[in-house]
């Protein structure tokens, strides 16, 4: 299941303008690309506040899953390997999510990210929106940038590969179950045919 972590976004990141609208737009944009979205606690809290507006994330076609307290301090503090290890053990309602993409707001330390990840903003680059050294960021534009140029092709190729893999795995799962049923049914049919040949002349005495 392709999962994106949107990390590093805090309450202030959605300010100063209509934060609920921004977050709604972010979720909608993300929903077009990923199946599940994990967020840091702060983003989750913001998400909860706009639940009434977006009703629920499932209507957007993806799951908004629980917060990741383990990610407090985020990947840059623990390193990607440790982060991934924690995430792979993390489960919600029985799911164990595999993280495919991590979006961090403002780190450029690629060593803490999985290969396909990217930061929303290079730490030494001019902020995409708002003055430098401020957390006032138009998150809608940031997410658009991730799924637009220059990352568009890269991200879409990755998601395309995941899609093909998932379809193949689902088909294989169904096929294996069908094969198992057919094998069992063949056994039963063979057994039933055998008894018909043996018993057809006469019933056992006590059944007559």
């Amino acid at each position: 299941m392709p999962v994106c972590i949107l990390a590093g976004l805090k309450y202030n990141d959605a300010l100063p303008a209509k934060r609920s609208l921004y977050l709604q737009q972010v979720f909608e944009l993300m929903a077009a690309h990923v199946a599940a979205l994990m967020t840091s606690k702060a983003t989750w809290d913001i998400g909860n506040k706009i639940q009434r507006r977006i009703r629920d994330s499932e209507k957007l076609g993806f799951q908004l899953v629980a917060t990741l307290e383990d990610l407090r301090g985020e990947a840059k503090l623990v390193g990607w390997d440790q982060c991934k290890e924690k995430l792979l053990r993390f489960s919600v309602y029985g799911f164990v999510y595999q993280v495919d993409l991590v979006l961090l707001k403002d780190t450029s330390d690629s060593s803490v990210l999985p290969p396909s990840s990217t930061s929303l903003q290079d730490s030494d680059a001019t902020p995409i929106y708002g003055p430098k050294n401020t957390t006032t960021i138009n998150v809608r534009r940031l997410v658009k940038r991730i799924f637009g140029d220059p990352y568009k092709d890269e991200v879409r190729k990755m998601l395309g590969r995941i899609d093909a893999q998932l379809r193949a795995e689902q088909t294989a799962l169904a096929s294996s179950l069908i094969d198992e049923r057919d094998r069992i049914l063949q056994e039963w049919k063979g057994s039933l045919q055998q008894i018909q040949v043996v018993q057809s002349p006469e019933l056992p005495a006590e059944l007559g």
Partner: protein, 201 residues
């Protein structure tokens, strides 16, 4: 509630007792059951088993008294098609269909003659798996049915050899089922949730 499957001791033949009307089984019926169910045949041929032989509902495997009675009445007879009329073509819900399929499987029956059972579903089922080619497979419409219903749908499709339907249903189940909610006689399907798909592990 216990159903007793009584081996005959008089000319009237065996009787299946249920909570409602007793279901009489004739000598020919016994032959029919033996020919169509491996498990019933084994029971009937086991001379060391005490009589009557109990056929008890198994709620862990979602087999109730109705499912057993249905099986005993219909095994070996062609299932009426949906276009017919009368009591035999009454529409049933997915939960009842799933339970009957569980009984078919538990008693190791050949489901070939039960194809018409599928057509008795009481409402159209569309799992929302019609994903356009340009969309990702996880971008399916939200399911219209509960997790349990989706799993029961997959369960019935599997038993009744509706392979295309089953493939669709299993994809939906993999995405939408978060907990083990399916009670079934089919071992292979007991743990079908998102965890069944390698992509989620």
């Amino acid at each position: 509630m216990m159903i007793s499957f009584v081996i005959p001791s008089s000319a009237k033949g065996p009787v299946v007792l249920s909570s409602g009307q007793p279901l009489r089984i004739t000598r020919n019926d016994l032959l029919r059951l033996e020919k169509c169910s491996v498990h019933l045949r084994d029971l009937l041929q086991n001379r060391y088993l005490p009589r009557p032989i109990p056929l008890a509902p198994d709620y862990d495997e979602d087999i109730d008294a109705d499912a057993i009675k249905y099986l005993l009445k219909n095994l070996g007879h062609p299932e009426p098609r949906s276009g017919g009329s009368g009591r035999g073509t009454r529409k049933i819900g997915i939960d009842q269909l799933s339970r009957r399929c569980n009984a078919l499987w538990y008693y190791r029956c050949d489901p070939t003659t039960f194809g018409g059972l599928w057509e008795r579903l009481d409402r159209p089922w569309e799992l929302g798996t019609g994903v356009d080619w340009h969309e990702y497979c996880w971008r399916r419409p939200p399911p219209k049915f509960s997790e349990r219903e989706t799993l029961q749908y997959a369960n019935a499709a599997w038993v009744l050899e509706k392979n295309d339907v089953f493939t669709q249903a299993i994809q939906s189940a993999v995405w939408d089922s978060r907990e083990d909610t399916l009670r079934t006689a089919i071992t292979a399907l007991k743990g079908i949730t998102s965890k069944s798909c390698p992509c989620a592990s």
